[in-house]
Amino acid sequence: MASTAVSDIPRPRADLAAAAMDDATLIAACRRGDARAMELLYHQYKRRVFGLCHRIVGPVDAEEVAQEVFVRVFRGLAGFRGDAQLGTWIYRLAVNCALTQAGKQRRRQEVGDDHLEEVAAPPVASRDPRLSRRVEAAMAELPAGYRAILVLHDVEGLSHEECAAIMDCRVGTSKSQLHKARMRMRELLGPALAAERLPGGEAP
């Protein structure tokens, strides 16, 4: 793209103490087009947004979706009314973009290799050396909606209230979706989880 990058042109600069900036100040500065504030906002949320995209759409499409999310964040900040936390709003954009992409991937897959899916062997059957890799593989098998709630609650550690706000559903729905997602994960991981018992094997 031949266009000039954002940081190359003169922009208003507020006197910003980078570390100590609350959401409202950051949003206001970004709305004015302050390059430093925009970059600061990006760095604050890049891991969460990219991680979420990566786990919902997979490594191939993650970067493209993360770009889309941040472009929408910066283009949409003017319309952000502040009735949700900034983080919740960004997460919601990320989940929406990622689920849209996941839907496209599913359609592509259905058109591409519809008969392959039926005979595909369970991907976690082979014994990976590390549990986390098996967990990632099992997550890739979940329906995208389950994947989203699992990432938000169990990976990112958000509360059900936050998850419900992000997924635009009721708290009860968030809980029941998460329960189903975890049960499916247990099915998919079965032997892997059983093999690595907690030390002592005691109930928590």
Binding site: S3, R47, E63, A66, F70, H179, L193, A194, L198, G201
Partner: protein, 235 residues
């Protein structure tokens, strides 16, 4: 509390959402039931594994790419702005002119705008020519639909799993019975079985597949029952 109740509450128990009485009932059941202890262990293990997943590190060039896309969008804004200003100036200039003349003028202006648009368009990246989408959440209906579809897929998979288990339990019984049959009947059995298994494989999920499963399991049941009857001395 029984195992089914525990399975339904194990999430709430491990998340610490249950009240004292409910949590105590769970603990009581877990003390006495090894299978449920396994379930709870696995859930704990799963949670720990999920919480410990290594963070996905965004690539270093991600900011530059976002920066460039935001920049390109702003340039597109500036072009749209120029077009709008030109248009309003034209309208202001035409205002004193008689109404029909204004109509003709407008038509000309539209033609002019189209020409301007056509000239401006090619230098913009394709993605930016689409209207900028407001960052709104997906409407609740779509989310509800997605939930429902996920749930249906879930149920279908669950049903498949249960049927598969029934078949795996019935098949050895049926085979044991068939072993006592004549070669010709045994061959017929193999043929019938294969036809029914094929029917399950090609059936689309839902009612059609469920009917195929029923056909397969009831067939195996009838064959296996032959052995039961024979063992009981009824034949």
């Amino acid at each position: 509390m029984n195992c089914r109740q525990l399975a339904a509450q194990v999430d709430g128990y491990l998340d610490g959402d249950l009240d004292e009485v409910g949590a105590s009932a769970c603990r009581g059941h877990l003390r006495t039931c090894a299978a449920c202890r396994d379930l709870a262990d696995q859930q704990t293990r799963l949670r720990a594994a999920l919480a410990e997943l290594p963070p996905a590190e965004p690539p270093a060039h991600l900011w530059a790419a976002i920066d460039a896309r935001v920049g390109a969008a702003e340039i597109a804004d500036s072009r749209r702005g120029a077009l709008a200003t030109g248009w309003s100036r034209l309208v202001a200039w035409l205002r004193p002119v008689a109404w029909p003349v204004a109509m003709v003028g407008s038509a000309g202006a539209i033609a002019l705008a189209v020409v301007q648009l056509r000239d401006a368009a090619p230098s913009q990246p394709l993605a930016l020519r689409a209207p900028v989408i407001a960052p709104a959440a997906a409407p609740p209906v779509r989310l509800a639909l997605r939930d429902a579809l996920d749930e249906r897929a879930d149920l279908e998979r669950e049903a498949d799993g249960r049927f598969r288990q029934v078949v795996s339990e019935l098949l050895p019984l049926a085979r044991a019975e068939v072993a006592t049959w004549s070669a010709r009947r045994a061959q017929a059995f193999a043929h019938d079985l294969e036809r029914r298994e094929q029917a399950v494989l090609v059936a689309s999920p839902g009612h059609v597949r469920e009917r195929a499963w029923h056909d397969l399991t009831s067939y195996l049941e009838r064959v296996a029952l032959g052995e039961q009857v024979a063992l009981g001395g009824g034949r």
